[in-house]
Symmetry: C2
Subunit: 239 residues, 2 copies
């Protein structure tokens, strides 16, 4: 199961959160009432209510007397919550979702590189370099390469020295994992990609914010263009 080590409340949070993010319960739908959830999960009201409160805190549901427990409009969902992102990740890969992730990465990462070039400390530069070394070494398995890739992007965000960018590490990590699901079958991790990462690092290290920004931007616009192209093909087929 994976969730058996967690306490009851958290298991219910995970189960309901997953179902909401995967669309088993849709926006506006009612969840089972407290009483029903108690019997379904075979737990007390205490545990049930605490689970409901946690999902409420994450913006997924509302709970009011007589009205019951309902999935609220998706604009209220805390999409940057680490749990919510993981529940999204459990769903089917979806090109539109991938595009949405890439679009925001395009906003975040070039600017993070810009800030890293301005504010990175020695140890933060070392962390980025370390991730690059891991990427180069990992010639054996794809998994290692991807893990090192994630570490690279995370360390750049850390080097921005901005708490908001740092909090977005969850988001970027999830975005990369969604990306990997597609690219594993379509685009190998190329030497060119690795070199692009090295180039960005060099610009950060040499304190060239604008150049680092541009380099990151170009790489990501190219990736997004590929996905947009794939979506176009798909949509034309559908006609």
């Amino acid at each position: 199961m994976e969730s058996s080590h967690r306490n009851l409340t958290q298991q219910v949070v995970h189960e309901l959160g997953r179902k909401i993010m995967q669309g088993s319960y849709k926006v506006g739908d009612s969840l089972p009432s407290e009483a029903d959830l108690c019997t379904q999960f075979d737990i007390s009201r205490t545990a049930t209510r605490e689970a409901v409160k946690m999902l409420t805190a994450k913006g997924l549901i509302s709970s009011r007397p007589r009205q019951g427990i309902k999935v609220v409009d998706s604009k209220h969902w805390n999409l940057f919550d680490v749990d919510v992102l993981n529940w999204i990740l459990l769903g089917k890969p979806d090109l539109y979702l991938l595009r949405h992730f890439l679009q925001l990465r395009l906003g975040i990462e070039p600017e993070a590189a810009y800030l890293a070039a301005q504010y990175a400390q020695e140890d933060e530069l070392a962390a980025i370099e370390n991730a690059l070394a891991r990427m180069k070494d990992a010639t054996n398995g794809q998994d290692d390469t991807h893990e090192a890739d994630i570490e690279f992007h995370q360390s750049v965000l850390s080097a921005s020295n901005n708490p908001f960018f740092i909090q977005l590490k969850n988001f970027i990590t999830t975005a990369l994992k969604v990306n990997i699901r597609f690219t594993n079958r379509m685009i190998p991790v190329t030497v060119a990609e690795y070199q692009a990462h090295v180039d960005i690092f060099e610009l950060i290290k040499n304190k060239k914010p604008q150049a680092a920004f541009d380099a990151a931007m170009i790489t990501q616009r190219a990736t997004l263009a590929i996905v947009n192209e794939q979506i176009s093909v798909l949509e034309n087929k559908a006609l």
Copy 2:
């Protein structure tokens, strides 16, 4: 009071959340135990525990047997949660905080304008135009101008048609409110600023993504430069 209409649990969530974000309880600090919170707020364990669970869900605290309730490291805080943002806003204005907000806005908003230029529907364009009209009309009070300004930025995010950007409306709104606290005394809402907004809208309407991006970027880099300058002055005085 403002919070008297909410239920007990939510009042406690608000009170504790506020204290954590304002630093009354610092990272690593223990909060009072469940039992103590019950007596302090004069409420039952039920309400107390549900409040604790909600703050846990927002990533602010952890709660484990024997160890008690502790404020976790700030990298776990869900800074994009609407409540957390409001609690930040209740604190003292802080130039460094303003800079952090502006830095992320610089990542988000130009790209949002880019996407709006690609994907905005008729009604979404109308919404942006409506906000601009409100900005122009509001010659009487500053509050109206600021409200219309917030509406402008929100409507651009909506027009991006990307759920992640839409979720960031909370963030941008808070960022603008923090900004207003400073600029109310330092920089008046100028005609030039209004014109910059109009220009961006025109580029979005005419489907010029890159131009809209550049226009938004230039405006925001200028604002950030001012703040950076102010911080420099402050830090030099401190020496």
